[in-house]
């Protein structure tokens, strides 16, 4: 039974994505996505960094690519990709810190590709991409990231990926240095802690939706629409179950 349900969900999602993507491709006007403040803030970060001759700091968290945090980490990488392209084009590549070994090659790849596109691949400063600590030592990771924030001339602090409560230490140091912050995570505890530091927060699914917001491909937008449909279905299922339980006692 479980197999049938899982298989059905996957097939339904794939079919819906294809149908809605076809509609997207044939639509004359682009679909408008719901605005959210963190995404707007991200767009403004690079511009401000270039104006003030500063760099952005992006931390991709501690989510391993071979674990359950893979989707969250990949979404964070898509944010890095866009910011690296904008930053390298203006000769201010973002300082990127990672808290898991598997994130290092992918982050390095994206930043170097962005530098190549901008024609300055040989001029990436030392420490542009840094492995800080292993994912099993969250507070060591937080300590390492705060060291980067303190040492470098940073205008914006972008924390996207998997974080836990150690994010509080990073945000506190960034706040003391009056650095703008954008935070995105899937961990409710990290999000609660981050709420005290900034308004620009990507809550769970908003972080996962960021590739669609950044690239805006028809398939990505279609998958957001599927997500909305699934959300309504899940919501109705929860309500229906609650009413059923209430009625039957």
């Amino acid at each position: 039974m479980e197999l049938i349900i899982t298989f059905s969900i996957i097939v339904i999602v794939i079919v819906l994505i294809f149908i809605l993507a076809r509609r997207q491709q044939s639509a004359k006007a682009p679909t408008l996505l719901r605005p959210f403040s963190a995404h707007k803030a991200l767009k403004g970060q690079v511009g401000r960094a270039v104006e003030s001759a500063s760099r952005l700091h992006i931390s991709l968290g501690r989510g391993s690519l071979i674990g359950a945090a893979n989707p969250v980490s990949l979404s964070a990488v898509s944010i890095l990709d866009r910011l690296a392209q904008d930053g390298c084009a203006n000769d201010t590549p973002p300082i990127t810190t990672v808290g898991d070994g598997t994130l290092l090659p992918i982050a390095d790849n994206h930043v170097r590709f962005a530098a190549e596109l901008a024609g300055n691949s040989n001029r990436l400063p030392n420490g542009t991409i840094q492995f800080v600590a292993d994912s099993n030592n969250p507070f060591t990771y937080a300590g390492g990231v705060t060291n980067v924030i303190q040492q470098e001339k940073i205008l914006g602090n972008i924390l996207v990926g998997q974080f836990g409560q150690e994010i509080g230490i990073i945000t506190e140091v960034a706040s003391r240095n009056q650095i703008n912050q954008v935070i995105g995570s899937d961990d409710p505890l990290a999000l609660a802690v981050a709420t005290t530091a900034t308004d620009d927060i990507m809550i769970g699914e908003e972080l996962l939706a960021s590739p669609a917001y950044i690239e805006g491909k028809p398939f990505q937008i279609a998958s957001l629409q599927v997500q909305d449909i699934l959300r309504v279905v899940v919501g109705l299922a929860i309500l229906g179950t609650a009413v059923y339980k209430l009625v039957t006692g």
């Binding site: 197999l3 899982t6 969900i9 999602v13 794939i14 994505i17 391993s64 071979i66 989707p71 969250v72 990949l74 990488v77 990709d81 990672v98 898991d100 070994g101 598997t102 290092l104 090659p105 992918i106 790849n109 994206h110 030392n126 420490g127 991409i129 840094q130 492995f131 800080v132 292993d134 030592n137 507070f139 060591t140 937080a142 060291n147 303190q150 040492q151 150690e166 509080g168 230490i169 899937d186 409710p188 999000l191 802690v193 709420t195 005290t196 308004d199 809550i203 769970g204 699914e205 972080l207 996962l208 939706a209 590739p211 398939f219 990505q220 998958s223 997500q227 699934l230 959300r231 899940v234």
Partner: protein, 212 residues
């Protein structure tokens, strides 16, 4: 063509194989693939250590006086060398479990110290939030946090009457079991739906974050 096509093919094939292994109860397939992935993750961790050393050795040797950053880098490199030396000594039997003992004596207390400071950082951060952003939501956030703190104190206080203890317990349970749990589940359901659609996009080859 090959540069873009090969990683895409590898990702889609191994994604589908892992899914099939999990769906149809074939742990041999998924375990084999996860074993390879864990091996690659081990190599990535080694690269991470090399990166860490390269960045900090370079910073240390350049001797740039930016806020004493080179001193921290020096401490890191020297600490790494000491721990590495202890690991070698353990390996050859010159010392007994020295690397783990160094970890227990230095790393664990330092991490615990940082963790214990978190509560104070959060209070400061909450106060700063209330100063800088006075909205209905920030006020609600702060008031709730303070009330829950007081409720926790009242629950464990032996000096208060039992009825007040009970009231504090009910209030805390209302906040934690109903409002907080509902919020957390809402976030987690959203994350789960986001993960489903993102994973499907990767499986059908539409999303290629690994490929530049």
């Amino acid at each position: 063509m090959l540069r873009r096509g090969l990683p895409l093919a590898i990702a889609v094939i191994f994604g589908i194989l892992t899914l099939v292994g999990l769906l149809f109860g074939l742990p041999e397939i998924s375990n084999l693939i996860l074993g390879w992935a864990a091996f690659l993750a081990g190599i990535a961790l080694f690269l991470g250590v090399v990166n860490l050393l390269a960045v900090h050795t370079s910073r240390f040797l350049r001797n740039r006086p930016v806020g004493g950053g080179n001193v921290y880098s020096g401490v890191l490199v020297i600490s790494w060398l000491i721990v590495f030396g202890l690991g070698i000594a353990d390996l050859f039997g010159w010392t007994n479990n020295a690397m783990n003992q160094a970890f227990q004596w230095v790393q664990v207390p330092l991490e615990a110290a940082l963790a214990s400071m978190l509560a104070f950082f959060l209070i400061l951060s909450g106060l700063r939030m209330l100063q800088g952003r006075r909205t209905v939501w920030t006020t609600l956030f702060f008031v709730t946090a303070v009330l829950v703190l007081f409720a926790n104190a009242f629950i464990s206080s032996p000096f208060l009457p039992g009825s007040l203890n009970q009231l504090a317990l009910q209030f805390r349970n209302l906040i934690q079991n109903l409002i907080v749990t509902a919020g957390i589940r809402g976030i987690l359901i959203g994350v789960a739906l986001g993960i489903i659609t993102l994973t499907v996009r990767i499986l059908i080859g539409v999303e290629r974050p690994y490929n530049k």
